[in-house]
């Protein structure tokens, strides 16, 4: 059963611009003017070309970066007013790369996700233990709990990262290319799990994906980032057209229909 999509926005970006300072003193503009609103319980996929600023956008949403112009709001308040710790209690990120330090077990790394909620100086609370167990279970990683984290396969690593994010008990989950390096089966399994978690825990999810068809199959709403702006934002049917793909990605695709009537973008022969 899907949770009702609320109309109140959980996170919003209004005319956000951001440029990275360069070593030579110049600036590299990445986002020009981004408008994006995430309502509670929404499941949104973010697609775009390489270098279009998808990861930067995620960083702005967590407050890791501060916008040069425009405003980022979380739960109605400007993000700049939030304490780091309070943001960490509400927003979790599944990063593209994560250094897994040597010597930790999976369960111990997942427990690091409890850090924003940590109450006691040295010991972990009952609540922490339950949250870790629940996170592992939801991520399908219970069987990995005692394994050394640096011995995991690609798919297992992803489950670990999901568990770490879930341990934070966030309201907003941001995923940065979670399907990179995963085979098809694992891609599907992961996204299905994310959908299920959204339903079970009432999460709001923004996932950066590179596969347009996967995005269309996964999310009811797709936003397309190109040259620092959101150039399209709506249902996959509205957004993912041959026209847009040619404009943004410079690639020709044909629209096809699947057996059960869903639209599908097919590459012309390379």
């Amino acid at each position: 059963m899907t949770a009702p999509v609320g109309t109140e926005s959980l996170a919003a970006m209004e005319q956000v611009a951001f440029a990275y300072p360069m070593p030579d003193g110049g600036r590299r503009e990445v986002l020009r003017s981004v408008d994006l609103t995430l309502a509670r319980g929404e499941l949104v996929a973010l697609v775009g070309t390489n270098g279009s600023g998808k990861t930067t956008l995620l960083r702005l949403l967590t407050g890791l970066l501060k916008p040069d112009a425009g405003e980022v709001r979380f739960d109605g308040r400007p993000l700049s007013d939030w304490r780091r710790l309070d943001v960490a209690r509400r927003v979790a990120v599944l990063p593209q790369h994560l250094e897994l330090p040597v010597g930790f077990r999976v369960a111990e790394l997942v427990e690091m996700g409890r850090a924003p909620h940590a109450r006691r100086l040295f010991a972990s609370t009952e609540a922490d233990a339950r949250a870790v167990a629940s996170a592992l279970a939801d991520a399908g990683a219970l069987d990995l709990a005692d394994r050394p984290a640096d011995e995991l396969s690609g798919g297992e690593r992803q489950r670990l990262l999901v568990a770490m994010a879930l341990a934070q008990e966030p309201d907003l989950l941001l995923l940065d290319e979670p399907t990179l390096h995963l085979d098809l089966a694992h891609q599907v399994a992961l996204l299905a799990a994310i959908r299920r978690l959204r339903d079970q825990r009432g999460l709001t999810v923004l996932a950066v994906l590179h596969d347009l068809n996967l995005a269309a199959a996964f999310a009811p709403r797709v936003a397309v980032l190109d040259e620092g702006r959101v150039v399209a934002d709506g249902s996959p049917a509205e957004v993912l057209s041959t026209d847009l793909v040619r404009r943004v990605f410079g690639v020709h695709v044909d629209e096809a229909r699947t057996a059960d009537g869903r639209r599908h973008l097919a590459l012309r022969e390379v």
Binding site: L98, A137, A145, D150, A189
Partner: protein, 370 residues
Amino acid sequence: MRAAATAPTTAQSIRIGPSLTRATVVLGGGAILLLTAMVVAVAIGSVGVGIGDTVAVLGHRLLGLPLARTEVPGAESIIFDVRLPRVLTAMLVGGGLAVAGTVFQALLRNPMADPYIIGTAAGASLGAIAGLMAPLLLPALAIGVGSSWLGLGLVQLLAFTGGLGTVLLVYAVSRANGRVPVVTLLLTGYAVSSVLAAGVALLMFFSGQHLGAIFGWLMGSLAGAKWIHLAFAAPLLIISATLLVVRWRGLNLLLLGDGPAANLGIDVEREKLVLTILATLATSTVVAISGTIGFVGLVVPHVLRLSIGPDHRLLLPASVLYGATLLALADLGARLAGGIPVGILTALIGAPFFVWLLRRSRMVRPVVTP
């Protein structure tokens, strides 16, 4: 998803963090080992003072028990004035270096980091040598090695401020856009250290009769241990070590990288600054009273990590206990080997042991991205 045959599938069976038993064994064992090492180190020295005399002297001085004549002449002075301050200093220095080394290795995400790496050794050495040569450099001031302010000599004061000041300089120089990237910190530390080392070499060239004292200081030695030094160093070391031990969460998270740590609620730049200052405070204090003793701060964290794991919750307090034990015993060895500088002994024994341990366990792996 494959389910392993022995997988824990219930919430109750999931272990997070070290159990109370494990913590007790590791830390309790460390404390007992430390106490034993302390007693052994005080009881043994180049002059044989028997257990009977040792206990009698300690009982007399610490508990006020009456003391009859000791079997060995001068035993009371040997035990209480010569050995005890030296052993206590060794413990404080060993614990301080080990905990600082642990912190820097995590902070800089570099397994080769030691407490001196971002400039403490170079700055403290320059200060100490200037102090040792004060009669040569500034004869008008008429300050010699014997003069002191509240019992602390010029050497100690200059070494402490030199170490701390250098790190603050390195930190300030490494800052860009409000951030201090770890790699920049490392490289700036190396550069500043090199410049200061050149200054040290220059001073040594003109040092004349002070060269022996300078060399002894650079090797690091506990021979000059004094109660008055302990009075200043002990509170500084205990406070900074305690403040570091409670910051274990931040250190664990910093291992994940600056970004993930920030996403988990750590104010990364502030945490790095606080950790750097505390660890440098401990290191500078240690160097001021014992010179630059090498190897302890590098090896103890690694050996412990290979034995009890990288979780700083246990690693930090363990490094204090086992580092203190190591140096107390190493200093005992140095005393028995004819008064050689203790840094020589720690290197001679520690290095091969470390290699052996590495070959037995998994190697420290480079960062693997998915």
